[in-house]
Symmetry: C2
Subunit: 308 residues, 2 copies
């Protein structure tokens, strides 16, 4: 029975890889640094093929038990064609036909997708979004993105580029964004902006959200103010999507979501205060259930959905 | 064969009613003022039953040829249960079980929905959205709303309240909105705001968008500036949804969309300048194909979709 999947989560720093069983459990996992392979995609693909083969053996499985390989990448991926269009943080990856190249090497079905979409599938099938028909899965980090489950399925948009919540403007005129826009949500709540806010509030350069979390736990008033401000910004950025998409669930993941107790209540209050009464009444905020394994587990859902 | 539908479009001013054939053509139409019936929903329902019966006869049809009645209303409608929850501009309509009451009177299947959603269905099946898998159908008027076709189907959200594009904030701090929010898109591009802008630019009270259209056609520079400003506001408000939902099509309807030649080019330019490069590249703006008949034609789609 082909019922296992090898999931691969390609990040800017590390590549994580694991074998997933039908219950969404990761049986074996391995990881290696992205950098040595980053500039030449063919090196990375060769390494992936080797590690995939190795992980199947380590898991005590045979190739015939593998339904396929699912790969998430941080950037623009053509899911239908299996082509990696562009990865902002990994050079050397433009229009790479990852699916067909790797399938030739490994003789197993390969599916590729954007990493945030894959994380969203993990939460939908096995995590905080189980049973929900409509939800937004927000990831907060250096970049800010989202996956959308609408009418019970992943919404991809026309170019598989839907979900760019980080690039919905929060203001008509605001900080310039890398995307070419202005006043984007990410320029207010991305890590760079939150680190700058932390340093400004603490009047000390180099402050991080981790620092602010540690200080807040000790009751530091400035750190608590920092989290309140961050949460208000996040809430303001979610009002529009709550009114537009009328979900009852927003799942928040990414590093900053670890600080749930300093964030979620204020985010919810901000949304309730500003959103339309019906839309603002019924929704819940939940923390993403999966952290490091999300991309690997989601790859299982990607592969099995594609083969249904 | 049950292949005709009676469509009813309940507006704050008039109620329009027509018999629609399977090609989406309106065979007979009638309309009457809403006001005499507005305060007592039972009066309106009695009038509807009478007019529906009359229109079937006028169309030369028999009841057995009618698949059902579709009714659009301007407000919050529980599509599943057939209950009108609340109509901001028509008093006396709170939690009215319109579907079951009217079905008892008229002995034909009745389906009710929010009017913007029904207009969107008309454009999807017979109009500017034919063949599109994902699009946003924006209606500009006193209120600003939208219908969303996503993954080839109408997206309703959890409470059938999705599509409130008019209440996505354009700025964190901005004009107070009737919805309880602040800086909502509608406070910038709703008729009230555009009329105020017109009066301000012309330095003359009581100016309307119709006035500005007439002046712009004559080449009046202030009127052209008015339309440019309005178009930039509309474009700014659409950037977020273009990045979030990655549609290739935005359909614009409502009174203001009649001024297509002074609006659409600047709207498109504004979106292209501010949206992410991929999302901003491929989309098109089209004018809604149906005007007065949109609600009646969409009712046909509502009824036949429900019975598929």
């Amino acid at each position: 029975m082909k019922q296992y999947v090898v999931g691969v989560d390609v990040g800017g720093t590390n590549i994580k890889l694991g074998v997933v069983n039908p219950a969404g459990k990761v049986l074996v996992r391995t990881s290696f640094a992205t950098k040595p392979f980053a500039s030449h995609h063919s090196h990375l693909i060769t390494a992936l093929a080797r590690e995939i083969e190795a992980s199947i053996i380590t898991a005590g499985l045979h190739r015939r038990q593998i339904a396929g390989i699912g790969i998430g990448l941080p950037g623009l991926v053509d899911y239908e064609k299996g082509v990696v269009r562009f990865l902002p943080n990994i050079p050397g990856w433009r229009n790479v036909h990852l699916k067909s190249i790797l399938e030739k090497k490994i003789k197993l079905p390969v599916f590729v997708d954007n990493d945030v979409k894959i994380i969203t599938l993990a939460e939908f099938k096995f995590g905080a979004g189980r049973g929900a028909r409509n939800f937004v899965c927000l990831t907060l980090g250096t970049g800010v993105g989202a996956g959308l489950i609408l009418n019970g399925q992943l919404y991809r948009g026309e170019d598989n580029a839907a979900g760019e919540l980080g690039h919905m403007p929060l203001n008509e005129h605001g900080p310039k964004c890398n995307c070419g826009g202005e006043g984007c949500f990410e320029t207010y709540v991305g890590n760079r902006s939150l680190f700058a806010l932390a340093s400004q509030i603490m009047k000390k350069p180099g402050m991080t959200t981790q620092d602010m979390f540690a200080l807040a736990k000790k009751g530091n008033k400035k750190a608590l103010l920092f989290w309140k401000t961050a949460a208000q910004r996040i809430g303001n950025g979610l009002v529009g999507i709550v009114n537009l998409l009328n979900p009852h669930l927003i799942i928040i993941g990414g590093g900053v979501s670890n600080n749930e107790r300093f964030l979620f209540k204020t985010i919810a209050q901000t949304i309730r205060r500003r959103a339309m009464s019906l839309q603002g009444k019924a929704f819940k905020i939940k923390r993403a259930q999966f952290k490091d394994d999300a991309g690997i587990i989601g790859a299982y859902v990607l592969v099995t959905n594609a083969q249904r």
